[in-house]
């Protein structure tokens, strides 16, 4: 430390300026994605809601949600609600399709919600329902226009006999990702009546692999992403301690901390990837073991995957940033208490602020 006040002051300023610059760069990245995605992103067409979630939550974690002014904020809220698949009064079977779609890729009219008509093959996708609710919370909406019974019926239709969930009623693969989505929706709507909680917990327990990570399903290889989904689901269901023994929890914590190289890998003997700083970091946080992480190495790795000019983060150094890794990279940084980033709720994967907003409105619906 310098003895001269002026010197140490200017050092502090320099550091601060640099950090502000970094924040701005990422704010620009998410703002850009919020408006328009390049042609290479065409394969995200059906999942636009998830991209919206990464952008909004990214700006929130950057403490820069204010770049979206009130007008734009309510426009976005309107767009989200326009993706709500609502029951058609004349079609009983339409209830099980309810929830949210990822975009209007089937050509459903934007104002269909005014007097909802069911369109052929138009149905919700569980990941879109989950991210739509999260987006609304981030934007400070009170969820008053959510058709709660319909959304819940839609979720109920997706649970499988083994406890896992599909993504759509049109049938799809079923795995831990969608278990997590179902748990988030039930938690946010404060209603567990449609999820068979013990069957779900059973599925999660059966997916615990011999090395004490969780796979996407029973007998599948343990993986950072599915381990996060499994543990977060148990936490949201308030079933962690009743499903896993203390010894198992200890071993899961160990499996997680063994994933740190500099950043985190998703499976043993794989390279580090930015997103696992969140998937594994958040799991350790939920299990009360985040202080085991070597933060310095972790931060160094995440920053090495930063898009130098574009902002955002990619999975590996010197790759193209994408919205998922950009958001999860930020969350990984936030879990290290990185300055200028807001703290996040590990099980819900939104800012603490948004999670608190949820608590404040949870009694109202």
């Amino acid at each position: 430390m310098s003895l001269f006040n002026s010197n140490s002051m200017s050092e502090v300023d320099a550091v601060k300026e640099e950090e502000e610059f970094v924040v701005k760069k990422h704010v620009r990245y998410f703002s850009r994605c919020l408006d328009i995605l390049p042609t290479q992103c065409q394969s995200l067409d059906a999942n636009r809601m998830t991209i919206l979630f990464f952008c909004l939550s990214g700006l929130d974690v950057l403490d820069n949600l204010s770049v979206i002014d009130d007008q734009r904020g309510s426009e976005i809220i309107e767009w989200i609600y326009s993706q709500q698949v609502l029951p058609d009064q004349s079609d009983e079977s339409s209830l099980s399709k309810c929830g949210f779609r990822g975009s209007s890729f089937l050509g459903v009219p934007h104002d269909n919600s005014k007097s909802p008509v069911s369109y052929p093959y138009d149905c919700s996708h569980i990941a879109m329902t989950y991210t739509a609710l999260s987006c609304l919370l981030i934007l400070g909406d009170n969820l008053s226009r959510i058709n709660k019974p319909a959304v819940l019926t839609g979720i109920k239709a997706l649970q499988q006999p083994d406890g896992s969930f599909c993504s759509t009623v049109e049938q799809s693969e079923s795995d831990m990702r969608f278990v997590y989505c179902a748990c988030c929706v039930s938690y946010i709507l404060n209603d567990w009546s449609v999820v068979d909680v013990s069957l779900t917990a059973d599925y999660i327990k059966k997916s615990l692999a011999y090395n004490f990570g969780f796979g996407q399903g029973p007998s599948l290889e343990s993986h950072g992403g599915s381990t996060y989904c499994a543990v977060a689901s148990l936490v949201l269901m308030n079933k962690l301690e009743s499903t896993l023994t203390l010894r198992e929890i200890e071993r899961i914590k160990k499996w997680c901390i063994m994933r740190q190289l500099t950043g985190f890998q998703g499976r043993p003997n794989k390279p580090a990837d930015t997103c696992y700083s969140f998937w594994i970091g958040a799991t350790l946080e939920m299990l009360g073991a985040s202080d085991w992480v070597d933060k310095e190495l972790n931060v160094q790795f995440i920053l090495s995957t930063e898009g130098e000019y574009t902002g955002g983060f990619s999975k590996w150094p010197k790759c193209h940033p994408d919205p998922l890794h950009s958001y999860l990279g930020l969350c990984g940084l936030s879990l290290t208490n990185y300055s200028q980033l807001k703290p996040i709720s590990a099980p819900l994967n939104i800012s603490q602020r948004a999670a608190e907003w949820l608590q404040s409105i949870r009694g109202n619906f």
Binding site: L34, D35, I36, L37, P38, T39, C41, Q42, S43, L44, D45, A46, R48, I51, L52, C55, R72, E75, E78, W79, S82, S103, S104, F105, L106, G107, V108, H110, D111, P120, Y121, T168, E170, S172, E173, A209, Y210, N211, G215, Q216, S219, L220, E221, S222, E250, K254, I257, M258, Q260, L261, T262, R267, P268, N269, K270, A289, W292, V293, D294, L297
Partner: protein, 321 residues
């Protein structure tokens, strides 16, 4: 911008559906994103053309040959659109199509897009419908040639083996993969999957498997996957009951092999001993924790410190010497 150039070259030779005489009867339906869309995508003209027509035929419920072709274009534009795949399956069923060429199409798409959830699911449905799993082991093995840890392919392979009882050659296949790359964690997981579902880990099998994995550990003592397999199959039993494991540990330790997995397993053995009343092993375990945190595995310094504290609080106090 380069994006535009790319999309133009993509579209070479493509005739827009709106210009095709045999599609004149269809009124295309554009996407209606409302007055204030968010996260728009800069679709190419081809993408818009294909999906405008796809929206129209899905709305009509048309299930014909030409729609089959259209869904092929739609899948090429966006293989992640699950509704397109679903609709394509309905058309296939409606037209009672021979599944052979569809299986070929799925195979080609799997090889081009091995990380696409939708095409793997499509493949699974086709195998179910045709009740013909004969090509699945070959196909997944092809995918492993490029990426031996592809999660989708392993998931598909497990589903095939379990559904159709194709267990008989799998251990041999896994053995081949492990000899190619003993760090392939997916292959170790598959080994566990096969054994637990066939012979089970009987005393005899565990004995053989311990021998099998020890040979791999000797070659590469820093291979976490092999150590995890070793401790995984002993789950429930005690490591110290397995003479060959103790011998392995002694031999690696005497060579000062700096493997965190070796040392971690030593801690487990010491913990078993302490729990069995051998008090002096506690201090040994604590010393190993120190060695790990300060020298062998400093990334996890705090974890090893925690482990040391956990052991002391469970079995301590340490006999002060």
């Amino acid at each position: 911008m380069s994006e535009g150039d790319e999309s133009n070259s993509d579209e070479q030779g493509y005739v827009y559906y709106r210009d095709r005489p045999n599609w004149k009867d269809i009124e295309p339906i554009p996407q209606d994103d409302g007055p204030n869309p968010v996260v728009q995508i800069a679709y190419t003209d081809k993408f818009k053309d294909v999906y405008d027509y796809l929206r129209a035929v899905i709305r009509k419920g048309e299930k014909t040959e030409r729609v089959l072709e259209l869904t092929m274009d739609a899948i090429e534009c966006n293989p992640a659109n699950y509704t397109v795949w679903h609709y394509r399956r309905e058309v296939l069923q409606e037209l009672k199509k021979d599944l052979k060429s569809e299986l070929e199409f799925a195979e080609e798409t799997v090889l081009n897009e091995p990380k696409n959830y939708q095409v793997w699911y499509h493949r699974q449905k086709l195998v179910e419908w045709s009740n013909d799993p004969s090509r699945e082991l070959y196909l997944t093995a092809e995918v492993f040639k490029d990426d031996s840890k592809n999660y989708h392919a392993w998931q598909h392979r497990q589903w095939t083996i379990r559904t159709y009882g194709l267990w008989s050659n799998e251990l041999e296949f896994v053995d081949g993969l492990l000899k190619e790359d003993f760090r392939n964690n997916s292959a170790w997981n598959q080994r566990y999957f096969v054994i637990i579902n066939t012979t089970g880990y009987t005393e005899e099998v565990v004995k053989n498997e311990v021998k099998y994995v020890i040979d791999f550990i000797k070659v590469a003592p820093n291979n976490e996957s092999a150590w995890n397999y070793l401790t995984g199959i002993l789950k429930g039993g005690r490591i110290s009951d397995h003479e060959p494991v103790l011998k392995l540990i002694d031999s690696l330790r005497s060579q000062h092999v700096p493997s965190p997995f070796l040392l971690s397993t030593m801690i487990d053995v010491y913990e078993e001993e302490v729990a069995n009343g051998k008090k002096e092993s506690l201090e040994k375990a604590v010393k190993i924790c120190e060695e790990l945190g300060s020298k062998i595995d400093p990334v996890r310094k705090r974890y090893w410190e925690y482990t040391s504290r956990r052991l002391i609080s469970a079995y301590g106090p340490l006999d002060s010497t």
